[in-house]
Amino acid sequence: MSEPEVPIAKIPEDPEQRAWFYRPSSIRKLWIITYVVLGLTVAAQFGIHVHDHFGIDGWFGFSAVYGFLSCVSMVLFAKLLGYLIKRPDDYYERFIAAGKDAEDGDV
């Protein structure tokens, strides 16, 4: 596929002049909203009874803690596995090129 022409905007030096989403003040606001929403979803459990299937899944805030911890462990596992299986993204191309050179060398 040929590379299409893409307009490129200059990003202002001053963070407060950038698009709304990237301003430090907006990022602070977004974090506050996030914490409020997170707090509300947990607090709502005071009013809603959660039935358990297996015991601990009925505990207060179980889904919140379980969701958070499983994601943290998956990210950490991926990070560790990454040390083992990550390769430069031209890994296979290099292998093919190296093979070609060797063949040319033989000839």
Binding site: M1, S2, E3, P4, V6, P7, I8, A9, K10, I11, R18, A19, F21, Y22, T34, V37, L38, T41, V42, A44, Q45, I48, H49, V50, H51, H53, F54, G61, F62, S63, A64, V65, Y66, G67, F68, S70, C71, V72, M74, V75, L76, F77, A78, K79, L81, G82, I85, K86, R87, P88, D89, Y91, Y92, F95, G99
Partner: protein, 561 residues
């Protein structure tokens, strides 16, 4: 009856042919009309075996309809329609034709009443999906297409061994639930699972699909894996081995997607993840689980195509497909961003999207069967889906750091396709009975309880928190992650080279041995046996007479005694 039972797959095949033959001006009409006609034909089919034909001494059932088969065929036709709209003007005509033939194969498998028909359409799909991969048009696509074709040919051979064994040993070619107590059933299971991207044959999917064009990849995401989910539902419902296969796929998809930098490869890994949920549901095998699998396949095709359309739109407009090159695109591509985010929410089973009403059927089925560990694993995986696809994809493409790129939204037909599927995600999520009424078994499940909403919001929002807390650990790098394809892309090549080297070395040694030990022996042998040698020389007739006389004299003298 015959008119009604005209195989819907053939309509789409004719459509594919017409796309190839028609004048360019007529093509868009055919692209839109063929799947609509196919869908109409699908909905005219009553239940039961509708069309049989003699084939190699067997009576094959070209069309057998049921609620489940019709549901899968419908979503395949719908996928062809909206996928066709997405590539209406921009995709090459041969790509659209191949994509439609590929979809026709999937519809053919959906209605196949026996193993032979299933196999024929199965291979038809392998053929045309390979063409779709090749339509990516790059060297990488060409190579990935060859690997893809090889993998599916191997899968096809394994499937055929199983089918022929079943035909010989049972005399039946009927598609019915098989017991896993003999070699033939296992071969069929393995053949089908290869198409589902089950381990250790999971690498072909993330290897080949992302190399298609922005339009081809949308088609590729829908058919192969979902027809094998249907085949698993028909042939192996309730086989508990599938629970574990499915769970492996679920976590494999998440972990590899987390490590990935290419946006379309992230989405490819997440196909394996989602198909894992379905395979697991087939393994649970209760009516509720199978309903969940059917609903999830239907919902998944829509939101996964939507996600790949939004990734494809970004790629079409920017020519870039790596997280490290993108960011901040929400500013100039609002339609693509909103549609992509809706797809991302749907895949994460966010309430009021289609994923919420379909996936919860599967995890609730696990809970009702008291499969404790399966339920915990599926719940952790649901959190992981939000992590790797629900947030990671839109975050790195549309937000993260501002890349400064300001591409416009794609042409109108691409936008329209995205908007249609985004709307479908939300409508199905808000009105679950639209989908539930077409599931194979009666549904008595209510997804929208206060309790379910609460636990789902807690699970997803705190997974989101984990993403942003762990963000520094997920800094994108210019890397790929090794997978089982390493064995056939590197290890086998090295192995072949090593064998070649060993052979060359052995030849060298043999020559050396020859020079040292063999040559003197050979020289003596030559002395005896070559034309001038003692034993090979021709002798004059006279000398022979002399020798005959000598022998005669000797005999006479000795005989005198």
């Amino acid at each position: 009856m015959f008119e009604l039972a005209f195989p819907p797959a053939f309509i789409l095949i004719i459509g594919a042919l017409l796309i190839a033959l028609a004048r360019p001006g007529m093509r868009p009409v055919i692209v839109l009309a063929a799947p609509l006609l196919t869908a109409y034909a699908i909905w005219q089919l009553p239940d039961g075996v509708l069309l049989t034909a003699p084939f190699l001494g067997y009576q094959i059932e070209l069309v057998e309809a049921s609620t489940l088969r019709r549901l899968f065929a419908t979503i395949f036709a719908l996928m062809a329609l909206v996928g066709g709209l997405f590539g209406l003007k921009q995709a090459k005509w041969y790509e659209l034709a191949a994509g439609y033939a590929y979809a026709a194969g999937a519809i053919g498998v959906s209605f196949a009443g026996d193993l032979i028909t299933m196999f024929l359409f199965w291979e038809f799909m392998a053929l045309f999906s390979t063409v779709v991969v090749w339509c990516g048009g790059t060297v990488a696509a060409k190579r990935a297409g060859v690997r893809y074709a090889l993998m599916h040919l191997i899968g096809g051979i394994i499937l055929k061994i199983g089918i022929e064994g079943t035909m010989i040993h049972t005399g039946s070619i009927e598609i019915t639930a098989l017991a896993l107590d003999n070699f033939d059933s296992w071969m069929i299971l393995i053949g089908v699972l290869i198409n589902a991207a089950a381990p250790p044959f999971c690498a072909w999917l993330a290897d080949a699909y992302p190399e298609g064009s922005p339009f081809g990849t949308v088609f590729l995401s829908a058919f192969t894996t979902k027809t094998s989910v249907l085949a698993l539902m028909l042939l192996f419902p309730g086989q508990s081995v599938l629970i574990w296969v499915g769970l492996y796929m679920v976590f494999y998809g998440i972990i590899w997607a987390l490590l990935e930098n290419d946006i379309r490869r992230i989405l490819a890994y997440s196909i394996v993840n989602q198909v894992g949920f379905m395979v697991c549901g087939v393994g649970i095998g209760t009516e509720m689980a199978l309903n969940g699998v059917a609903a999830h396949a239907f919902a998944h095709i829509i939101y996964k195509a939507l996600l790949l359309m939004s990734a494809g739109a970004v790629m079409y407009q920017t020519g870039r497909r790596k997280c490290t090159d993108l960011g901040g695109l929400y500013q100039s591509m609002p339609v693509t961003a909103v549609c992509g985010i809706i797809g991302a929410l749907a895949i994460s089973s966010f309430p009021f999207t289609s994923g919420f009403i379909s996936k919860s059927l599967i995890s609730s089925a696990a809970a009702y069967e008291h499969l404790t560990w399966v339920w915990y694993a599926l719940t952790a995986a649901s959190a992981g889906v939000f992590l790797h696809a629900g947030i990671k994809f839109p975050w790195y493409v549309f937000f993260q750091k501002d890349s400064g790129l300001r591409p416009a939204d794609p042409p109108w037909n691409m936008q329209a396709a995205m908007i249609i599927f985004a709307a479908a995600c939300i409508v199905l999520g808000c009105f679950p009975n639209l989908l539930y009424q077409y599931l194979p078994y009666a549904v008595s499940y209510e997804p929208y309880t206060a309790e379910h909403l609460l636990t789902q919001f807690q699970l997803l929002l705190f997974s989101g928190l984990a993403f942003f807390v762990m963000l520094p650990l997920m800094k994108r790098t210019l890397t790929i992650s090794l997978d089982y394809d390493w064995f056939y892309r590197i290890a086998m090549v090295r192995g072949a080279r090593a064998i070649l080297q060993l052979w060359t070395w052995l030849l060298g040694r043999a020559e050396a041995l020859w020079a040292h030990a063999g040559a003197p022996v050979a020289a003596r042998l030559k002395g005896w046996h070559l034309p001038d040698g003692l034993l090979a020389r021709t002798w004059p007739t006279g000398s022979m007479t002399v020798w005959v006389v000598v022998i005669l004299v000797a005999v006479v003298v000795l005989g005198q005694r």
